[in-house]
């Protein structure tokens, strides 16, 4: 028995030493199957004309689909809407998230419960939450308008989702409500990783609260801010479910985002070739955003080296 176990262990160690790639194989196979191959297929399909609502025949068209992107007005409307959505929602989420994280890192009675409760919005499925927001913002029955009326701020409840500016604001608010907890949790993890001694030493040297925040908290939190930004930027750039349920892109197409344009092109217009080219375009758009997040995430310690 013993001998058997030992030989087994020997066999495995030997394998690990000589053919370590074997142990990576499951991961490689899996990522190839569910990520690299579909991505490659999208890229390849982008060079073909495949429109099921027409002939459905697959014909090589070179870069025609990518040229069409340049003249796709509705795409640029969607891009602009997406940029506006991300430009408002991400900073709000990060700043609020940081505030909440700093609050939750302080010691106070019931902190554990508070930390658990803060996650509730994040745990809710977006589609369900969006449905609830649709009712909250409803012009006739909406709670939001009702509260304003009761407070005497307005005479009749505004129709939030009916006007271009407020519809986008409603979408940003709904998104911030849901994803601020996500930012808070990651940043909270970052805050707890900062050694308490640094603050004590700084306080002894006479640094005030703002200086301690600026010189210790912010620099040491950068890797975590980078992670939060990366996740939030990518997600808000691909926002679909919230908008689809809340406004379906209206009014006047002012909340129609990139993901809605791609979805409609692929699944509703059945223009698979061009839709694939659009997904490639979307991925390319994400590269500079990922760059920003990576720059923010660079730890100052690493930079100093």
């Amino acid at each position: 028995m013993k001998r058997n176990v030992r030989s087994n262990k020997y066999w495995l160690d030997n394998l690990r030493a000589k053919h370590d790639w074997l142990f990576l194989l499951p991961a490689i196979v899996l990522t190839t199957a569910i990520f690299f191959l579909p991505a490659l297929q999208s890229l390849v399909s982008g060079f073909f004309s495949i429109n099921l609502a027409l002939s459905g025949e697959r014909a090589f068209v070179g870069v025609a689909n990518f040229i069409r992107i340049a003249s796709d007005e509705r795409l640029f409307e969607a891009l602009w809407n997406t940029v506006r959505f991300a430009a408002f929602s991400v900073p709000i989420e990060v700043v609020l998230g940081l505030g909440i994280a700093m609050l939750l890192s302080e010691r106070f009675p019931g902190r554990g419960v508070a930390r658990a409760f803060i996650l509730v919005p994040w745990a809710l499925p977006t589609a369900i939450m969006a449905m609830a927001w649709r009712w909250i913002f409803n012009d006739q029955y909406g709670v939001f308008g009702g509260l304003l009326m009761r407070a005497g701020l307005v005479e009749t409840a505004p129709a939030w989702l009916a006007m271009p500016g407020t519809a986008m604001a409603a979408a940003v608010l709904a998104d911030a409500w849901k994803t601020t907890p996500f930012a808070a949790v990651i940043l909270l993890a970052g805050l707890t990783s900062i050694p308490q001694e640094l603050y004590e030493a700084a306080a002894l040297d006479g640094a005030g609260a703002w200086k301690r925040f600026k010189l210790i908290t912010l620099p040491l939190l950068r890797p975590y801010l980078g992670v939060v930004l990366l996740f939030r930027l990518i997600h808000s750039f691909g926002i679909f479910d919230l908008i689809w349920v809340l406004t379906s892109g209206g009014p006047a197409g002012t909340t129609r985002t990139l993901a809605l344009h791609v979805y409609e092109t692929l699944f509703r217009y059945l223009d698979l070739g061009y839709g694939s080219a659009l997904t490639v375009f979307m991925a390319v758009c994400l590269i500079p955003l990922a760059g920003v997040a990576t720059w923010v995430g660079k730890s100052p310690v690493a930079q100093a080296k």
Partner: protein, 423 residues
Amino acid sequence: MRSPKSRYLLLSVCALVMAACGPRTESGAQQAGKKTIRFIGKPTSGGGWKVLIEEFEAKNPDIDIEVVEGPSDTTAREDLYTTAFLSGKTPYDLIYMDVAWVAKFSATGWLRPLDDLFSLDRQKEFLPGDVMGSRFEGKTYRVPLHSDAGMLYYRKDLLASVKETAPRTWDDLLRIAKKLQKPPQLLGYVFQGKQYEGLSCNFYEFVWGAGGSLQGPDGKLTVNSPAAVEALGFLSSLPKEHAIAPVGVTTYQEEEARHLFQEGRAVFMRNWPYAWVLMQKEGSPVKGKIGIIPMVHKQGAKSGATLGGWGFGIATAARYPQEAWRFVDFITSAVSQKRLNQTEGFIPTRKALFKDPDMLKANPYYPDLYEILLVAKPRPQSPKYTEISNILQARISAVLVGQASPQAALDEAQRKIEQVLAR
């Protein structure tokens, strides 16, 4: 001890993966040698479907009909069918489909032409609009089950209180609504103003009501004709200049409008026939107080109604097309349509049923409805209709929220639609 364990783990993962990739376990019915025919339905309301299906299965012991309950949103169900078809092997032999999907689903080759089964003689028994809407490029792809058309609901009691009769023209609508409304408690007119398919339907009705048309005899699509510009001007004046519709109407779909009307908070409403049945139910505040008429039109023009309506198509990839047809034949028969009318409030597609004494007794408003159905027109028939309508919706919405003038918005829509059609 770790290594054997991890090997077992690896083995079990492999086994799981293989099991997942292997053939699907057949359902009980299939094991018993039954042929399963599946389609996506609406969330069931009246329960009449169930009884009819059980009856059919009792008569056809070799067939098992499986209704997958889909969401109430039409677009969502269209997308469910689409993704199923895109995967290549559709699990749905039957497609319970909206008239608006016919062109797209036929052009893709997903539907089997039914002309051999659904002969011209039999088609003559159905309402002409429903049959016309089931055709694409000369072939028939759908058997109509229940008809649908946009119409104007009005409050008989309120109109009588100011000695008015049902409106016929745009001016009548404005006059009566202004006379009666007390917003926000009582709104003049509610309709579907959200940026979605329903908005296009509302718009078409005003275009036809202004004496215009969308598709010429050659099939050419024109959305910026003078009549269309006038129609959009009228539509957008309802929440704005004339203020007979609430500002929030640009967020309403069918149900938002119905809730307000049913609670007695609106004088007029544009909606489909389904609302009638719900509003005449016991406990509805407007029960017995409502009437329907064809949509109002411009002085000197005629009413227009957007044709809706549902029917059955058979998938090209159907495993059991003959069995599927047997069910279609059964469910669209006069007897079944009558039963579905009683339980679901479905409007029949067979002309004879509008003269049936039982039907008329149960639905005294059917002579009015018949008039509306006869003027109902299909939406522009094109496999690219979804994209065309999406462009229109966004531009109409822009006018409703005051971002563009009717002329500018429709010119832009026309230009974008022509780009789409030129591709």
